[in-house]
Assembly symmetry: C2
Homo-oligomer: 341 residues x 2
């Protein structure tokens, strides 16, 4: 019995050929637009295909062609804020190129990741993009895979792999340069978990901008967790101990939201008394605060598209390349650093 959906066995090229009264080979040629088919024959075949709503079986086609027109997207954890834009960028790029994407979520588990990798290989994907949730290096899938692999966001720990990751150092520098350009000189830093490479890189970038201007951070960088709560608490401590602070550079927009909250509680006007910068340019947070948050955008969707493009190229035989590439980030200026007029 056929499945309930009014289903039936999908129509095959054979059905089309028979209905059009030609051989299966001729039908194939007609449908694929090859020019050694009589116009009348082609018309008949196309009509038949239409009537039977024929859709060629890509699996069979792939078997012949040796490529499937599919790629695997291996994420370590869909949950994260950073996955989605990368996913979208990649899906977008591939979709335009008639490639379909297998989505696999390893849930942060190495065993599950191996399972999924195996599954992807058995499906003969033409390439794989590995998306990690942090910018800390992650274990390589290895060099002996039969398909090209690109690492996005979380770089591979093996230099022979190609990794695309946002340039957090440049982001940190850019942020502080902006604050300095706004006339601020007593700048503090609030960040999240210090074990994150992102936290350290952004801080290092910030420090390079400061020392280039002959300045130093006010107080120690405040590390703890990437939460709004910590943004509130850390800034309260900072401002109590160093009331002269005129700008706080935050390692995330969440932290910055917390800082804004504290500033209001303390009656410090933002941006006049105190400039506040976020990081990530998470629109939900950045555009709904009062004032809106100046932030650094890592262009993640573009990063996803880039990764897809590399896989594309690799499929076409271009060497995929290697090393960790730090992709440019972008400053988005809003009201938390410059008063709107």
């Amino acid at each position: 019995m056929p499945p309930s959906e009014g289903a039936m066995r999908a129509t095959t090229l054979n059905d089309v050929a028979r209905r059009a009264g030609v051989s299966i080979a001729t039908a194939s040629k007609a449908l694929n637009g090859r020019d050694d088919v009589a116009a009348a024959t082609r018309a008949r075949v196309l009509a038949a295909a239409q009537e039977l709503s024929f859709t060629p079986n890509e699996m069979a086609r792939g078997l012949l062609a040796g490529r499937t027109g599919t790629v695997g997207l291996l994420t370590s954890d869909l949950e994260g804020r950073f996955m989605l834009p990368i996913l979208m960028g990649a899906e977008d790029a591939f979709g335009a190129g008639q490639i379909n994407v297998f989505l696999c979520d390893a849930r942060g588990d190495a065993i599950r990741e191996q399972h999924h990798l195996k599954a992807l290989l058995s499906r003969r994907v033409d390439g794989i993009i590995v998306v990690g949730r942090q910018t800390d290096p992650r274990p390589s899938l290895g060099q002996d895979l039969p398909v090209p692999v690109v690492y996005a966001y979380a770089p591979s720990d093996d230099e022979r792999d190609l990794s695309l990751t946002p340039d957090n150092y440049a982001g940190g520098r850019m942020a502080v340069e902006h604050l300095i350009a706004c006339g601020r000189t007593r700048i503090a830093h609030v960040s999240g978990d210090p074990s994150y490479a992102a936290a350290q890189d952004r801080l290092a970038g910030a420090r390079s901008a400061l020392s280039a201007a002959g300045l130093e951070l006010v107080g120690d960088p405040m590390f703890s967790e990437w939460s709004e709560h910590w943004g509130r608490d850390s800034s309260a401590m900072l401002l109590a101990r160093h009331p002269e602070i005129d700008a706080i550079f935050c390692g995330s927009d969440q932290l910055a939201r917390g800082v804004l909250d504290t500033a209001r509680d303390l009656g410090r006007n933002v941006p006049d008394d105190l400039a506040v910068m976020g990081y990530d340019n998470w629109e939900l947070l950045a555009t709904n605060s009062r004032p809106q948050l100046t932030s650094i955008d890592a262009n993640l969707q573009q990063l996803g598209r880039h990764a897809a493009q590399r896989v594309f190229d690799a499929i076409d035989g271009v060497d995929v390349g290697e090393g960790v590439h730090h992709l440019p980030v972008r400053l988005v200026i809003r009201g938390s650093t410059i008063a709107r007029r």
Copy 2:
């Protein structure tokens, strides 16, 4: 020339058979654990497969089996807050069942959706889950598809399709019942875009709970957009006009965040002077506010798993069913409605 990755043509069953010195059929049996193979032979085959790191070609296998072990996830827009949990639930359920998921994002464009649908059918997916971004009915993909289809979140406009969507009416009722149970009697409602079914359903549910208690909404429901800004502005208006309000039920957590902000500005203590409820239980927003937000959780991940389960069943020949199913939601109580002690 082989692709750079140290690639090479993937090893086939033929390679394994030759290396083990058996026929290709025997190799197949040995690898698939059929019992009509001598132990010694099996060992030899397994060893050979291991050495060549053989992975069976699922496409070839699928060609024989008539099923591919893949399903399509057709989303209308990845951007949304509601996609991700559903996606995760479905991916999770399928992953455990050795099924791989094609992710297709139509970007809210009907033409692109048709393209993707066609692509999925040509890949001979065994089923499709259509995920919409709102709970308003969406156009059906049609009844004459060769695979089972389940609609998640956004129901199909055709009753013959199976749709799973959260029970917003029950959510609205549940929210107001909770507020009443907390002793509130002067309850107002702030919501987003009134053209959303979600907005109307939640309001209708809220009203049913109110009238069951012999109460009425204070003031008109405040509709505009689903933003924190509107939460701030609308509640300021409400509280100015109706200072007696002792609870505000919000149509989203974003709105509720805005309401909390205004309450603080006006010096109204939450929850003592004013109880505030959100909707969606978006943890990022709900757990980072002061106080944390009581909210309604639509169990979206579970909804995704359900949808996957239905597709599973349909693949196994069980009728997929039909009609719009409203899945239960859940109250999550935090500090914005009950003072913590």
